[in-house]
């Protein structure tokens, strides 16, 4: 399970996710292997993604969101 990092700056988008199993913050850097694994898991629909407010996205919403990431 992942959760988008909440940005507290106005007009600033989330730039990472929290891996809820261990609290690790994973930045959206294509060279980060945890980020690559996050995208793979979302696209395989093996994990869920929460938005920054804690609401669980549907699999389709999560995949659509991931498709917008670098």
């Amino acid at each position: 399970m992942y959760k988008l990092i909440k940005s507290i700056f106005p007009n600033s988008l989330s730039n990472g996710v929290i891996r809820l199993s261990d609290g690790a913050c994973i930045p959206f850097d294509p060279a980060n292997t945890d980020y690559a694994n996050f995208k793979k898991e979302i696209n395989a629909e093996t994990v869920e993604l929460q938005d920054a407010e804690g609401n669980t996205m549907t699999a389709a919403e999560a995949k659509a969101y991931v498709a917008t990431l670098p």
Binding site: I5, I8, I18, G23, P27, A31, N32, D34, Y35
Partner: protein, 430 residues
Amino acid sequence: MPLTKVSSGVIAANAVVDSFGTQSITSDKIGLGAITGNTLAPNIINANNIVNASITGAKIAANTITGDDLGQNSVSANNIATNAIENYTALTNRPLSNRNIVINGAMTVVQRNANTTSITTTGYYSPDRFNIELSSAGTWTMNVDSVGVNRAGPNEFGNSCNLIVTTANTNLGTGGYVIFSQLVEGLNLQQVKKGTANAESLTVSFWAKSSNTGTFICELYDNDNSRQCSQSYTISTAGTWEKKVITFPADTTGRFDNDNALSLYLTFWLASGTTFTSGTLNTTWASVTNANRAVGQLNLANRAGNYIAITGVQMETGTVATPFEMRSIGTEFQLCQRYYIDASYPNTGATIGFSGNVTNGNPYFVNFTYPVRMRAAPTLTWTSWADALFPAGSPTFQFTGVVGSNLYKSANATGVSGYFLGGYTASAEL
């Protein structure tokens, strides 16, 4: 009238110049053994008297020239012909430092656990930069030992990485395997010139000690081009340190990407199912065929207590294994921190935090930089030390880059002495 025979002592040494005209005695007039070292007075033969090619290597007996006989500057680089000295040309154009592509080959940097037990899944556990990858191949312990090496092995190394079977798997089936690897990024491999006409060979050297004698496989796997090459080596005597040297041929196909992503696996196979052993060992570079990758690899996982210890791992361009490049601990540590930093509490002490007047509900930021620039923006985890007027638990890392990050926590009370303190780990492993 020509002379046909001169009796011993008839011609004195100091009479030769006056008695014979220039070039009156040529080399074909001097019988084999007629002139010995004992009959030549000092300084009779100097460089001007020796015509080109008159002395060949075959004419120089063993031990004829010793170090004491060579004058200062008598041999310079210009006098050493190509291939004149064994290995000289093999080392030409090789760097005198930073030859070793492997980081932490002496197992000196251990930021994670010195001893990790119950390993059944892939990961980085003990010495920096080395991981273990396994599937359906028992349970393992991975640790760094600083005793056995000094006591019985390659004495230049203070540490070794030991991989020990704690739960056996006697039947690996098809897909079971265990490999011990270092993953190398493309930016550290451009000198290999792989995929060009000038591609270099790669020589891997290391020390190993195992409970089991037999055949092991070492593999290079090109992740950019899905190509691989395997070589076998033999552990000859159980429980004894042995140095192994393996040369992989050059590959003129498939360049390593010039970026910070994974390009090459240096892999030591420890056990392998038939998926990787059912073909013919591929000892030249080729597209990946799994069946040809680990043919002949013994199953080290087949008995609890089996082990292999490895240290002194070096991979360098060329066909010669030079002595292990022992880098200082400070340098090696920084090389490792490009991929992983342990700045956690209590392992390294609380390193970052905030204190001051706080208002309930407001966020408070801390910016921090890593000790080195990392390979990629890292995955960050927090280890708490203490909180006051802030909730327990992790702060949020808001903006994370390759040189530093920014974290915040929101106060859950109002007061003049709020604080949160802790440390972090940062992982940008391949």
